[in-house]
């Protein structure tokens, strides 16, 4: 059972799942609109549910036998792999690259290659309006320099701001929730070491109720579970590392898995591609199906691809994928790229031809 013990959050998304919900509503009609109405109705009960959930999350964060044991295991594993000699910044940089370099927080489309790194302001267009990515530089007033590590962990794991507001699921905390304590602390340390940029966050230009954060509480009830990714003892270290990278850090599924009518990830089509990828892009099927996926790619093909963006046929990569390769995956260690490749090719093949333009 490959998927036993996988507890990543479901749902969420780089490109606003709620937006997909509307996209789906447009395609499937009344049924999806009813689902949307249901979702909105669910939000009337949401604040209470949300506070319960965040309280229980806090308990979980604080309660720490299990977490501590997990951290200890992880540190032991890291040491065994020779990473014990690295500094928190080096480890943090590694996780940063594993996320794809957090490129959604840099406004490349709007400001080109000279965009201030990680200062936010990237417009994420959705049918509800435009959401802007946030400043994650260490500027104390406009960025996250004033955050404690615990604030950062809660944002990444629970999708909650330091003041307890819900983040719109355009921020893929649904995947990042699987990251370990140690990695999140290191990632925060690494982000804190980068240049601070003063740039205020922009409010979404969305229509009510999709500009209301409390609506997200209801969405979370349907589509989000906060949980770490635990190691599967039946699998080797490389496979577990690959799963951790693919499902949590690199958040591959957020783009490469189609969405359900409630905007969550359709787990039955895990990594089988989505024609409604972020920023209107088509996200290919990356399961090892020979005809419609990457079944004909070798481990070496994938490792090379994640380093150079060059496909087996010599073609290059465009769009968001080229950004996350250049600013992220290309800078990973070969071992990490191999782990990602091995894990992807170990997934069940799903036949699903992803086509755009319709």
């Amino acid at each position: 059972m490959k998927r036993a013990g996988v507890h990543v959050g479901v749902g969420g998304g780089v490109a606003v799942p709620i937006a997909r919900l509307v996209g789906l509503a447009g395609r499937v009609g009344p049924a999806a609109l009813v689902a949307l109405a249901g979702l909105l109705a669910a939000t009337s009960a949401a604040p209470a549910v949300a506070s319960e959930r965040s309280a229980s999350s806090d308990v979980r964060l604080a309660q720490s036998d299990e977490a501590a044991r997990h951290v200890a295991e992880e540190i032991a594993r890291a040491k065994a792999a020779g990473f014990g000699r690295t500094t928190p910044l080096e480890r943090g940089r590694r996780i940063f690259h594993a996320t794809g370099g957090c490129t959604c927080h840099t406004n490349f489309p709007g400001e080109g290659d000279g965009a201030p790194p990680l200062a936010g302001g990237r417009a994420l267009e959705t049918p509800f309006g435009v959401y802007y990515s946030t400043n994650i530089t260490p500027d104390r007033e406009t960025g996250i320099g004033g955050w404690q590590t615990g604030d950062f962990v809660r944002a990444m794991r629970e999708g909650l701001s330091p003041s307890g507001e819900h983040y719109f699921p355009v921020f893929p905390y649904t995947s990042f929730t699987g990251l370990s304590d140690a990695d999140l602390a290191d990632l925060k340390a690494y982000l804190d070491s980068l240049p601070a940029v003063r740039r205020a966050n922009r409010a979404p230009e969305a229509w009510p109720p999709f500009s209301w954060r409390f609506v997200i509480a209801g969405w979370k009830v349907l589509n989000f579970t906060s949980a770490r990714i635990e190691s599967d003892p039946a699998r080797d270290a490389a496979w577990n590392r690959g799963r951790y990278l693919v499902e949590a850090a690199a958040h591959c599924g957020e783009c490469h898995t189609p969405r359900t009518s409630s905007g969550g990830l359709d787990r039955t089509m895990w990594l089988a591609g989505s024609k409604d990828g972020p920023e209107g892009e088509l996200a290919p099927n990356i399961t090892p199906d020979e005809k419609t996926g990457i079944g004909e790619w070798s481990i070496n093909d994938l490792v090379w691809y994640l380093e150079t963006g060059l496909k087996p046929d010599g073609d290059d990569t465009q769009g968001l994928m080229s950004e996350v390769i250049r600013h992220g995956y290309a800078n990973l260690s070969r071992e990490d790229r191999e782990a990602i490749a091995g894990y992807l090719l170990s997934q069940p093949p799903i036949a699903n031809r992803v086509r755009g333009g319709d």
Binding site: L310, G314, D315, D316, Q318, R355, G356, G357, D358
Partner: protein
Amino acid sequence: MPNRAPSFIRSRSHGPSAARRAGFVRIAGAALVVAGLASIASLVPNAAQAQSAAGEQAVIEYRQLVMGAVGSNMGAIGGILKNQLALPGAIAIHAQQMADSAKLMGPAFKQKVSAGKTDAKPEIWSDWAKFEKAIADYEKAASGLAAAARGSDPAATGAAVKALGESCGGCHESFRKPKEQSYKNR
């Protein structure tokens, strides 16, 4: 706008006279002759049109073969490096072929054909100078890889491969339709 009915309605309302009918027959006869001539004449432009459509398809196919050869060379270079194939000197030859193919690109794309089974963007022709610059950059990057591969520093070869890949990507970003709009995905 004067409130008057069109002339043919007014004339009909008076009823056709004999002279008018005779005129009509003459006109109709002439029209038939003209139509007959026109239909014969129209064969000529139709044939020309068909030929030019076939010609445009041939232009598209030629361009795709030129670019396909570039891709094959890039794929081969990747295959050698990622699988550590023992093929001394091969990368330099592939890179040189890529540099040479730059000379084919300008002529291949000179004729504007942006409709049909092609992902060529109209920007190629609306910004031809930029397109030529992109080809020149690509040629330089390919020659750079050929030179690096003839040397003995694997890191330099690796960096040159990345630079070449980026020159492919840079040109594609401006001048090739993204996969979402590709004719292949329609």
